[in-house]
């Protein structure tokens, strides 16, 4: 659907994609194939043939919670329970910090509500040593990677225990030890950096691969192109993730996607195999990520993965989505909720029940509560417990040059 110039002159007309207007979009989440339907291509399948699957969706979990089809990953019940726990921990973590924002303890927060599976499952599908180049909505990579949540909270609180020394906005974590590249506030820059990192690994004959993350909105940025050109030319061992959560702040996906049918289509012109995947299906995410990683490690080059999911919450704590999106969008979303669906699956295969679910919920909530209590005890940017301001001069360079020594000395004089 599109609007036309009011006057509708005989000449040319500009198509402006329809703004959100708070109504349910006509084709929110397009091309939803049934679970199990889509074939699993060979690792070195021709890109033209992979492209024929463009209007399909890698899905494993059906509506009854059964895992079906060629993409069912080889995951133990324990591994699935771990996945469930990872996602629940992310959700509980997010909820606690949103609450902290409401309490006035933090200045800003961004949650991943509804899209926890994407980061959590891919983290588990890749290897330690691999490097993720995330956006601000992949806290799941850290949590599923076992990074201490209290350290994350210290970062968000920007207190003296913040590993980033209060330098970055909340949620812009960095954790090299956990294969998590420093998040930039500038969209898309990380995409080509991930390709560069992967090129370096290949240049050195390593085995580690890189994984690049971007939102569907930010895929319109130019560094997306730089990344695809370099990945294609040098056949870099990299996974190129596009998280299509249907929103870029207030703007529906259509503004970035334009007239094309899917974001996965963007891979084709670079001969980069691209799949669309049910991003709310933990097993599908795991399987597709593992497939892409195997391709990369086998020197078969980059893979593009479009994750279909939904940003259920506001863009950030600075955003009020009620003016542009319908209240019931999440309910109407055809791919459900990732936690519910994995819970349902584990229950369906007899590995889970309501009681255990309730107990796990209490456990993760408690873990989050404890961590938050600890982090909060160190204060926050709001309480002024932010450490020595002179530390802001550190790390501008490896060694403090003379002009910064002089400036640093002036900070001692008060503000």
């Amino acid at each position: 659907m599109e609007s036309e110039s009011e006057s509708d002159p005989p000449g040319l007309r500009l198509r402006i994609p329809e703004p959100a207007r708070g109504r349910q979009p006509a084709d929110r989440a397009r091309f939803i194939s049934p679970a199990g339907e889509m074939r699993k291509p060979a690792l070195d399948e021709k890109v033209e043939r992979v492209a024929l699957m463009r209007k399909q969706l890698v899905r494993v979990l059906d509506d009854d919670g059964n895992a079906v089809g060629e993409w069912v990953p080889d995951l133990s019940a324990d591994a699935k329970r771990t996945g469930l726990r990872d996602m629940m921990l992310v959700r509980s973590f997010d909820a606690r910090l949103l609450h902290a924002h409401r309490q006035g303890k933090i200045s800003f927060y961004m949650q991943a509500l509804g899209e926890e599976a994407v980061a959590c499952a891919q983290k588990r599908a890749l290897d330690p040593g691999d490097m993720h180049f995330p956006t601000y909505r992949q806290q799941g990579l850290l949590i599923a990677g076992g990074y201490p949540i209290v350290d994350m909270m210290n970062q968000v609180l920007s207190n003296e225990y913040d590993p980033l020394k209060g330098r970055q906005l909340p949620v812009l974590y960095s954790a090299k030890s956990h294969g998590f590249f420093s998040i930039s506030g500038n969209l898309a820059t990380q995409y080509i950096q991930a390709v560069g990192w992967a090129m370096a690994s290949a240049l050195r004959g390593g085995t580690e691969i890189a994984s690049a993350w971007i939102g569907e909105g930010a895929s319109a940025e130019s560094d997306f192109h730089a990344a695809l050109v370099f990945a294609s030319t040098y056949q870099a061992p990299v996974i190129l993730n596009i998280v299509n959560n249907h929103w870029a702040i207030s703007t529906p996906e259509d503004f970035a996607r334009g007239a094309s049918a899917t974001f996965a289509d963007r891979g084709y012109g670079f001969s980069i195999p691209a799949l669309r995947v049910d991003g709310n299906d933990y097993l599908a995410v795991y399987a597709a990520s593992a497939w892409a990683a195997e391709r990369a490690r086998a020197n078969l080059g980059p893979t593009l993965l479009e994750w279909i999911t939904l940003r259920r919450g506001a863009h950030s704590t600075s955003d009020d989505p009620s003016v542009y999106r319908p209240a019931d969008e999440a309910q109407k979303f055809p791919l459900g909720d990732p936690i519910d669906r994995l819970d349902q699956h584990l229950t369906a295969i007899g590995e889970w029940d309501e009681e255990r679910q309730a107990a796990l919920q209490r456990e993760v909530d408690q873990e989050v509560e404890d961590a938050f209590a600890e982090a909060d005890s160190h204060g926050s940017v709001k309480t002024g417990a932010v450490g020595d301001p002179r530390s802001m001069f550190d790390d501008v360079f490896h060694d403090l040059p003379r002009h910064l020594v002089e400036q640093q000395a002036q900070v001692g004089e008060g503000r």
Binding site: S3, S5, E6, L14, I16, P17, P19, A20, R21, S107, F108, S158, N159, D162, K165, G166, R167, Q168, L169, P170, L172, S184, G185, N186, L187, G217, A218, A220, E221, S222, D223, A248, I249, S250, T251, F255, A256, G258, S318, D319, V323, Y324, V381, V386, G387, P389, S391, M392, F393, V396, H403, L404, Q407, V411, E413, G414, R415
Partner: protein
């Protein structure tokens, strides 16, 4: 006269310009239906339709590049970069294209466009929501660079910028969107409705680009500044009880050098203030020019107070921001040295 916030004044300037000239179109990230993350374009789409004000894909080079093409066609695009910190992807289109098109084509083509961008810190935005990149524009021949400090000026300068025949970089310090912030971040916010510069005439008026405004007259010391720091300077002068003349430059290029020189020749002392990083900031240019033109009138060294040469920190924002204490100390030094 109605009292307006700076956001309302900017909105009003858009409305006036769009009413008068249907070649004026407005677009950018989230500026259409939503009306911009700071609400500066709120209501324009509803009023003028989706073909005059619309959302753009997230590609700053695309936004400015398309605007250059539109301007070459004969439109007058006024685009928003969501935060000045995100103008870098558009920098090539700004510097190599918009700024040079008239010159390189010997007037065959031109690029009358405005690039608006919220600048500055004070909202705990960290290094990518706090920058003041004016000096990256002032070094580029062909760009007019405006920094606003209050609703009255914002409206008049934005209208003038849209009407100007060449590209204008229009910088809006976000910390003064809602009130004349004086750097005392721990005090209650003063709204524009309580400030004379919050009184904004209805309808069309414009302020000539390249003219400074004497924000506060004085004899003891000249303070050259712009944006948020105008209000900080005023607070500091009052707190130090100094007869400082505060000049709000408003346009950095072209610069109103006469107003500056007159003042410094009168006071013999000069302080230059900005929020951007010190080294190679616009303060360096101001200092150099004042020195060149007022050497024999200067009684003490020109002092620059600016952001430190570090990325803008999140938690230590108020140690970075040149607040009234730091500015006040420099004022004292300037008058006693």
């Amino acid at each position: 006269m109605p009292a307006m916030t700076m956001i309302e004044a900017i909105r009003d300037a858009h409305t006036v310009a769009m009413e008068r000239d249907d070649r004026v179109i407005v677009f950018g990230e989230d500026v259409g239906y939503f009306g911009g993350v700071f609400r500066c374009t709120h209501g324009l789409q509803e009023r003028f339709g989706e073909h005059r004000c619309f959302d753009a894909p997230i590609n700053e080079s695309g936004i400015v590049g398309a605007a250059v093409g539109m301007a070459a066609y004969g439109l007058r695009p006024c685009v928003e970069i969501q935060f000045a910190d995100y103008m870098y992807p558009a920098y090539d289109q700004i510097v190599s294209e918009a700024a040079r098109l008239r010159h390189r084509s010997a007037g065959d083509f031109s690029a009358p466009l405005v690039v608006r961008m919220p600048t500055g810190g004070g909202i705990y935005g960290g290094q990518t929501h706090s920058q003041s990149p004016e000096a990256l524009f002032t070094h580029v021949a062909g760009l007019t660079t405006v920094v606003v400090s209050n609703p009255y000026d914002a409206k008049g300068l934005l209208i003038a910028s849209i009407e100007d025949d060449d590209p204008v970089m229009f910088l809006e310090p976000k910390r003064v969107y809602n009130g004349p912030f004086d750097g005392h971040h721990d005090r209650p916010i003063v709204p524009w409705s309580q400030h004379p510069l919050g009184e904004v005439p209805e309808g069309h008026y414009s302020i000539e680009l390249g003219t400074a405004r004497v924000h506060r007259a004085g004899d003891e010391l000249t303070v050259l500044t712009y944006g948020t720091l105008v209000h900080v300077a005023q607070a500091a002068a009052e707190e130090q009880d100094l007869d400082a003349e505060i000049i709000d430059l408003r346009t950095l290029v072209p610069l109103d050098i006469d107003t500056i020189v007159d003042s410094v020749r009168k006071t013999g002392r000069c302080l230059v203030l900005h929020e951007a990083t010190l080294t190679s900031g616009f303060g360096a240019e101001l200092s150099a020019q004042v020195q060149e033109r007022c050497f024999y009138h200067l009684e003490s060294p020109i002092i620059r107070v600016a952001g430190w040469d570090t990325p803008y920190p999140h938690a230590h924002e108020w140690s970075y921001f040149p607040g009234p204490d730091r500015v006040g100390r420099a004022m004292r030094k300037a008058v006693t040295a």
